[in-house]
Amino acid sequence: MNEEELVEYFRAQVGKDPDMASAVAAIRTLLEFLKRDKGETILGLRESLTWATACLKGVDSSVAVSSGGELFLRFISLTSLEHQDLSRCKKVMEERGELFLEKISMSRNKVAKLCHTFIKDGAKILTHSYSRVVLRVLEKAAAEKKRFSVYVTESQPDAAGRQMAETLKKLNVPVTVVLDAAVGYVLEKVDLVIVGAEGVVESGGIINKIGTYQMALCSKAHNKPFYVVAESFKFVRLYPLNQQDVPDKFKVRRPFSLFDGFPSPHSDVLTGACFPSQYKADTLKSVKNLSEEHPIIDYTPPSLITLLFTDLGVLTPSAVSDELIKLYL
């Protein structure tokens, strides 16, 4: 499976199910790659998998894809590969790959189950931009017959917040779209803030759509709880010290245009609908002076986060490192 086929397959996966996280699509692609691989040695296999992950990162440089890819590799090789026969080893790895996929497709539901109890009747929730996990949580809460209202930030430059509002209206949840600049204004009315995450870093902080850091700071000042909902495959081995320390490749992305032939013009930036390769890698390569570019994500330090809801459980930011050590070491 060469690079073109890989990218094709990835795009196909994303197109098939826009509700699926891009990391899941990436993992499906990697699993397919594993199945089709004709390598002779385990080491060769690992190398080609690493190469495949790198290719996918070139297509969609979101944090989730890189973390998902690495976790996938670790998960399948975390078993005894002592079999003499390469094909048997491969089979074991494939089985574990399927298991991993199954687990993570359930993760969003697990998160929703944990989080919806924190939404009390009559609550006013503030959220940021478009996040499928938050949507799932709110769906579950609505299904439990809870009455709540939602404020969504518009989240420029791609106005993804409007899409969130549309989807929530369909669930019959009262929703208001507010300006990004109005977060401080509206915070005195809300009871809690829930956001999704693109990546959860080692310190317990999160990487998310630009504007999240501001929201977290304001909630801290207002003493409102700031909750993050994220699946466990978003845990990544980064440790940014401040905004500058986040690698540039995550920060630079443009809202995509209609040129690449994707159906929905509102596919969001945040949860990584596939970007055409000519934008992602191009932006990095063509823009000489990245200071002209505006970052599309920011880093929220752990001191501002109250709790993280993941499929591994409800964690405090300091427990994230513990979980990461268990996952990665």
Binding site: S203, R237, Y239, L241, N242, S318, S321, I325, L329
Partner: protein
Amino acid sequence: MADSGVTDGFEKTDGIERAKSEGKELTKEEKQRLRKEKKQQKKNKEKKDDRASQESGREKQGVSSAASAPQPSAQSAAQKAPSAVPAPVPVAASEAPAPAPAPADKPAKSKAELKAERRARQDAERASKHGKKGDPGQPGAAGKPKAPTSELQPVVKRLPEHIQVDNPDVLKKLAKKLERQQIPLRLDYGYKVSLFSHLHQYSRKAPLTQQLSIPSTVIHPAIVRLGLQYSQGIVAGSNARSVALLHAFRQVIRDYTTPPNEELSRDLVNRLKPYISFLNQCRPLSASMGNAIKYIKKEISNIPSQCKEEEAKSKLLHCIEWYIKEKIILAAKAIAESSIEKISDGDVILIYGCSSLVNHILCEAFEKSRKFRVIVVDSRPRLEGREALRRLVQRGISCTYVLISAVSYILPEVSKVFLGAHALLANGYVMSRVGTSQIALVAKAFNVPVLVCCETYKFCERVQTDSFVSNELDDPDDLIVTRNGRTQLENWQQEPSLGLLNLVYDVTPPDFVDLVITELGMIPCTSVPVVLRVKNVDQ
């Protein structure tokens, strides 16, 4: 029987006195006899006391003042029992008066059989004693009633003696222990500030080696030299001290020969104990040294008994070399690699004092052509920053030098703070040179990220939330400065209300530290217990 013991003792004590004055190590037999003699004397006293106390009525077990006579002997017996192999003799002698002819029997039975007997008896007695007595380490625990130990497991933790200097009973016990190991006791010097009166304070002008007689065969000369280097500050810094300690132990092991009828694994550990006490007297052990010693003791006691001496010695030397290589040298390399990712071009890095690890990191980063400049912060009385400054400037790194009083002035320029650590405590607090927590606090106020670099062998299980409980007091005379030929504080001892305090360490809370870089990776300060847990599982 008692008589024979005493008369025997009289002849032997002369010999022992002679040996002591000559500074020769008492042979095992002599030590045994000394102990037995003391036991007998105590027993006689005890018999008299018993009669007296029985008349006055038995007091509660917990009250320290009565400390009914069997208890001190039981305690001191228990104290001595774990110490050395010859101990079973006095225990057996005190507990079972019938086999008093045991000493006479000794030549009759073989030593090994007797030892086995005694050990069995000792174990049985220890089991029964655990039901009887309370915490063995606290006879004068400020009159606190001892816990009913028959139900409770021995969960009560002993406070280390080096933070109980104001407790005269603990001092007495220390003196006794040192006397037994034939190490001179170092006396505290000068007036201690009352908040720190529970810590030792020694003077550099009175090193412990002055009280050792020459030639001294009790302590290996490499250890004597090391102790002097510690107490005079010639070898300073956590890594340097640990490496010097391990090198000295290597020399000790090379020169060691197993005495006949002894096992290397047990005898060598006992041989090391007086050395460690001596080094502790010269300068309190650091956390890293403590971990290194634990490792060596474990390795020694894991030597199988059928191992030949040469083989065992080479194995131990190899273990020590491996420890130094992996935990200190390679760890430094790994940490440098991780840290270089955090240093970007154009950075202004602030460092404090002289940490070998931080200096190494900065030099490596400079080699990898990162463009940065360094601000070295220094403080009295040690002025270690000058050494760091010298090393960095030699490499060609552009540096600025300030004193710690200027830290809030210089911080707006700084982009990162790199700190070294003396130890990382189990609750995430960082113990480091005094002044570190100040810098971390000011950096936090200016929103500058603080990175602590620390190898995992410095992680310790202790928990501390303030700098008072356990610290080190350096020589107070170091604070005296002479300017223009005048020394204002010359006669500070005469001033009744004046105290000089020269602290060595302080403790930084984890809220001020953004990142800890270890050879296992970058972890937040709160994850130190996780690493400790993982390490324990490994071992």
